[in-house]
Assembly symmetry: C2
Homo-oligomer: 331 residues x 2
Amino acid sequence: MAEDKHIEITEKCLDESIDAFFKSAPPLQDLDNITKKLENFVAQHSVHSESQNTKKVVCVTSGGTTVPLERRCVRYIDNFSSGHRGASSTEYFLKAGYMVIFLHRRGTAQPFCRFLPENPILECFEPSDDSGIQVCSPYAEAVKSAIQEHKSAVNSGYFLQLDFTTLFEYLQILQVITLAINRLGAYGMFYLAAAVSDFYVPWDSMTEHKIQSGPGGLAMQLAPVPKMLTLLRKRWAPVAFCVSFKLETDIDILLKKAESARRKYGVHAVVANELSTRKEKVIVVTDQSQTVIEKKGVGMDVEEPLIDFLIKEHAAYTFHQSHFVAKTSEL
Amino acid sequence: MAEDKHIEITEKCLDESIDAFFKSAPPLQDLDNITKKLENFVAQHSVHSESQNTKKVVCVTSGGTTVPLERRCVRYIDNFSSGHRGASSTEYFLKAGYMVIFLHRRGTAQPFCRFLPENPILECFEPSDDSGIQVCSPYAEAVKSAIQEHKSAVNSGYFLQLDFTTLFEYLQILQVITLAINRLGAYGMFYLAAAVSDFYVPWDSMTEHKIQSGPGGLAMQLAPVPKMLTLLRKRWAPVAFCVSFKLETDIDILLKKAESARRKYGVHAVVANELSTRKEKVIVVTDQSQTVIEKKGVGMDVEEPLIDFLIKEHAAYTFHQSHFVAKTSEL
């Protein structure tokens, strides 16, 4: 009883801090457009929902969020993330037949383009003899397949791209997505690979103009970002299958933090990765097990076995939800 | 006499803080390679130095620097800059016959590519009927000229591209460039358009691992970045023509700060720009005048008249240096 009360109070505090966050955030410019895109996208799922192979929908988040330090933003804190994890995972989800909402940081890695150099337009092309342009020979295949596969994914209608830069944009768009995915019940999935800021400067307390430099340096006070994951799991999309990520540079605290995050937020799996080995190996922490997943060889992606593993977990979860939960509710 | 002593002490303090900065900075990975590239590049200048039209060399810096908050960097503070100013200015310097060292933030705007969309490889190309790829028609001319003009600049040998991400990289590479440009006397120029951090976390006091989040938020103490511009002007390349930039969001303090920077660092010109109007208008502050420079029309660049103005100032300066200074030293 006393514990229940404690949980209630904690949730109330969280609600208040999240309310304050959203109220103080600069409003999203194209919210209506994003909502419409999401409605159309999710509507396609219902076309398939009567058939035997019901389409599943995953929201993959990718890249880091920025936290502005000034309202007319000159300086900001950024979280390092190339977006390669999210981009390659999106490819494997699409190959497995999932519909993918790819919520990514503007300018980060795109699916099917991972094998191109950093600046493909200047590095992969050259002037041709007939005063046109041509692809430089070592990149011929990579450029062709990047453009063809990306376009084919977009044209299929099963791949929706949405982008963000700031933490404010990210969390507002994510909330709209959760509401859309919630309609799909257990067929919906979240794969939250974006590197989200833990600290921010509340819009209310942010300086209007560029911070002036003084001889003594700069003292900054950042507020903790309210933990939206709790709300996502408990209210926004409580039945969707939810995978979160934990990145640490210190291997000693990684697994402890991953397990603690799994319990705290009630997510179905936490992908634990260590900064220096994250491209070779991850550990998936569920309530049943800790599974080490490694890439199969040189030139292979760790995301291939990772997505394979998670899709099986999601299938088991969907089966469980539709059979056992349905039966329980019949009783 | 007392004032001289004050200046001496101030310079000593600056020297010490700059020494401390460079000593504590992580060493540049490819310093030898960069030094060699610069030597070869500047050596070309001497080929022309006997002829009537002596080539001038400008170092254009572009984009913002990052300041890591952790050694194994997950979070960093970034300075907003698309790099468009530096990229377009580089084009006009090249057109005017300058040799350009383009020191830019990795991933920011490239000369000749300014009219392409953000993600040109996916937005400008499409699969063709013969299962190859082709340029989407609205971009046909922009893509062709971007690739041709960029390649032609690189092949001319008058365009050297060097890149940075962190403040530590930027300042170390800039120092090496100043030493190379210093050999050219008044024919050298600096056009410092990069958005350089005013504050940083000294490497020594930086945490090794990812900063852990706590319920109470995060207090950060940043140190002021030592003002390298003083050293650049007084020691590293004292005869080179030097243009610095001042960006503010508050128009009321902009001109005051620009004039104060001109005096403090002894630069030949300060380009003052206000964040919201910087693409239409700048004010060039010299010891003679404050000149408002505006773009000539829709679809035109403010950098065109700006570079034109600065090239004339540089020509007058070179003329003055070679005639009057030479004569004075003969006396």
